[in-house]
């Protein structure tokens, strides 16, 4: 490792920072001149470990210590998506496993326990370990047993850990991964909110959405054709009530890992720009980044300040995964609007290429457009509206996306009150709704559709997927619009 020269560079950089600016980037250099391997440890303590999306308290100014980490391997059934069960293999019962937070120079005494109910032997490879197999060679443990091994963390950064027992791809694909953070001396610069997110790809016998207990499919894993690409082990782990939260004006730090086993993540938060990205979880800091790449078996730290309220959608910007395989999370920011930064919609004009100018919409009157002569035509035209406007969220089959976008198919909410539905299409909807027994807490924006289009698309929706076959007339929509 290059640690021998690091302290010297750190000192020089520190001096430069002192003379140049005020040293606001205090994590850019090491304060201590002791090589990390020689840092003395003081006392011992049991590490706080947390389930995602939470992270343990920052190390702050504490000295290096002997840190005891307890980790229990559990093979247990969980829910991948609504109605889809999966047998996860986990570190401490969650996917990803518990977050481990250390500081440089810590001596970690790792206790790895394999629950007696488990069928298989497991081990752990921590990328923060300097040693053969990252600890895997020393940590192979049979069900009903516990192994102990120790290592000193000598490189700061955010590191992945995972099981490396054969077949490795299967152990990882079943959820055996997590993150270990090694903070520099003095800790990372403080922020207001910190969260833990880890992406993973899953391979099931049945296709995405097929219900029941789904076995792992090795062939799909070998072919790298996942059925699910998700954050924190399941569809909807970060949406609705599970969304992570912050207040306007706060700084947010996300520790983001990618367990893989195969997919590389194009990590992006819709409507935010990362002020700082610790590239690949290391020392290099990039600024003002839109989307950052996280390799399988890699991690990144992103910091940003949230300045306006709203729901910020967390995605893998390899975007089919988001809308079709589950990699969708939400950050809900509450607080006062900031119109200087973001106005909301100000005007809505008609664009006519022939005229060369944008004209404003004449009052509340719908523009001339083909009108449906009968119900069949209305439904056919409604289908086109649906494809353009509704399909991305509510899906082609009207099933929506569990925990994010409610279903329109066989929807009790829809069939109970058509007037309410017209209102929502016209004016949008924020806040909790219960559809077919499941809670949703997202945002549907007001749709800029004509009365005719709304009538058509709703007639289409009501005529399909087991709904109550109701025709919605443009006049009804027009009346609601005035209301």
């Amino acid at each position: 490792m290059m640690n021998r020269i690091k302290p010297l560079l750190g000192t020089l950089l520190g001096l430069w920072l002192l003379s140049g600016c005020t040293g606001s980037e205090k994590d850019a250099g090491q304060k201590s001149t002791t090589p990390p391997a020689d840092i003395k440890v003081v006392g011992q303590s049991v590490a706080e470990t947390t389930a995602p999306p939470l992270v343990p308290k920052p190390v702050g100014s504490r000295e290096a210590t002997k840190l005891i980490v307890n980790m229990e391997i559990m093979e247990k059934e969980g829910e991948m998506a609504d109605g889809v069960k999966y047998l996860y293999w986990t570190f401490n019962g969650t996917v990803p496993g518990s977050f481990i937070r250390t500081r440089i120079g810590d001596e970690v005494e790792f206790h790895l326990k394999n629950h007696p109910n488990n069928k298989l032997p497991h081990n752990i490879d921590l990328h923060a370990v300097t040693g053969p197999g990252g600890g895997a060679a020393s940590s192979f443990v049979a069900p009903g047993h516990e192994v102990v091994f120790s290592f000193k963390v000598v490189n700061p950064g955010l590191f992945v850990y995972h099981c490396a027992t054969a077949p490795v791809a299967m152990h990882i694909a079943n959820g055996m991964y997590g993150l270990i953070l090694v903070e520099p001396e003095g800790g990372l610069p403080p922020v207001d909110k910190e969260y833990y997110i880890m992406q993973g790809d899953f391979y099931t016998k049945g296709k995405n959405g097929e219900p029941g207990l789904q076995p792992f499919d090795m062939q799909k894993a070998v072919d790298e054709h996942p059925d699910y690409v998700v954050f924190n082990g399941k569809v909807g782990s970060l949406t609705g009530d599970n969304a992570i939260k912050a207040n306007v004006g706060e700084t947010v730090r996300l520790f983001v890992g990618n367990g893989g086993p195969n997919m590389v993540s194009s990590f992006h938060v819709i409507g935010e720009i990362f002020d700082k990205v610790h590239v690949e979880g290391g020392d290099l800091i990039n600024k003002n980044v839109q989307t950052t790449l996280i390799p399988a078996g890699g991690a990144t730290i992103v910091d940003f300040k949230v300045e306006v309220p709203g729901t910020f959608v967390i995605v893998d910007h390899s975007i089919s995964r988001t809308f079709n395989k589950g990699s969708l999370g939400m950050l809900t920011v509450t607080g006062p609007e900031n119109k200087k930064l973001y106005s909301g919609k100000q005007t809505d004009g008609i664009y006519q290429p022939e005229g060369g100018t944008i004209q404003s919409m004449p009052g509340e009157k719908a523009p001339a457009a083909p009108k449906a002569a009968n119900l069949a035509e209305r439904i056919a035209m409604g289908k086109m509206v649906y494809s353009k406007t509704c399909l991305a969220c509510h899906q082609e089959n009207g099933m929506g996306i569990p925990n994010a976008f409610p279903p329109l198919a066989g929807s009790d909410f829809l069939n109970a009150d058509a007037g309410r539905v017209i209102d929502i299409v016209l004016h949008g909807k924020t806040g909790e709704v219960v559809v077919n027994g499941a809670k949703y807490n997202g945002v549907m924006p007001a749709q800029t559709l004509t009365d005719e289009e709304i009538a058509n698309v709703l007639s289409y929706v009501y005529s399909n997927w087991g709904n109550k076959k109701q025709e919605i007339k443009p006049e009804t929509v027009a009346a609601k619009r005035k209301h």
Partner: protein, 284 residues
């Protein structure tokens, strides 16, 4: 971590297979010494036989290519008799009553770890919810071996076990069938099967039940195939028992079921008592 100090054999990257040079080395078989020396306190000496109620099935001899072998490394297996189902709680309880040195309170830690017969209420009573007809589990290799020896049988070797277990209901070697492998893998993904009664799976080609789908089973020479558990390291060529890392094709997929079985064996020591592991016996 090293089992009993045996030389490692093989293990390759995730799916792979084809390891060469699996040789049986009698000199490295688990410690026999305590069995032959000493007095009544030693577990392998002076065993009283319980009534053996298990019927056996004949497995005809033949050759097969082991999971860990190369295509040309087929192994001859002589014909043998194998218990139709794993040894049950009832049978093992009878054994323990007759052989006090194998009671939970009396057994020495070098022969059975702290999980020995975990779940029993005491030395001579099963746990409340345990079925008499369920396979006995939480038994060490030493205890399993003592049981088989007491009734004049032995534990199966890896080759005997694998040879008998590669059959499905209709074929002696069903390993290339997708259904065969799917059946095994589905068990790996089913929690808590060890409490179910024996003899409820369909008999295989030989008339043997439960080889897959109930519990892992001890083999006489389990420690001969040893994994470090670090599957990537095991590929390295500095090991004299080098395991050639093959490329993976669809036809190799069958091996990942076997892979986990061998990984499991590699994680054990002879005194380990595992909740999902039992045993059965064989004879000539």
């Amino acid at each position: 971590m090293n089992n009993l100090g045996f030389s490692a054999i093989c293990m390759c990257a995730s799916l792979v297979v084809s390891c060469s040079n699996l040789t049986l080395r009698p000199d490295t078989l688990p410690i026999e010494a305590p069995a032959t020396s000493g007095t009544g306190g030693e577990p392998l000496s002076i065993l009283v036989a319980p009534t053996d109620t298990t019927s056996m099935a004949e497995v005809k001899g033949g050759s097969y290519v082991p999971f860990y072998g190369k295509a040309d490394s087929s192994v001859m297996v002589k014909g043998f008799q194998m218990d139709k189902h794993p040894v049950t709680n009832r049978q093992f309880l009878a054994f323990v009553k007759l052989n006090p040195q194998w009671r939970r309170s009396a057994v020495k830690r070098i022969y059975a770890d702290g999980n020995y017969l975990a779940g029993w209420q005491n030395d001579s009573t099963l746990g409340h919810s345990m079925l008499e007809d369920a396979p006995v589990t939480n038994v060490s290799w030493f205890a399993a071996k003592a049981y088989c020896n007491a009734i004049g049988k032995t534990l199966p070797t890896i080759n005997q076990w694998e040879y008998a277990a590669m059959a499905d209901e209709t074929t002696r070697d069903a390993r290339t069938k997708a259904s065969y492998n799917q059946h095994i893998l589905s068990w790996y993904e089913k929690p808590n099967t060890s409490g179910l009664p024996v003899g409820h799976t369909t008999p295989n080609y030989w008339g043997i039940m439960d080889l897959h789908g109930l519990v892992w089973e001890w083999t006489e020479d389990f420690s001969e195939v040893m994994l470090s558990g670090e599957s990537r390291r095991d590929v390295s060529t500095d090991n004299s028992m080098f395991c050639g890392s093959g490329s993976v094709g669809a036809s190799d997929l069958m091996n990942y079921a076997a892979f986990m079985r061998f990984a499991f064996r590699g994680s054990l020591k002879a005194n380990y008592c595992v909740q999902n592991q039992g045993f059965r016996c064989v004879s000539k």
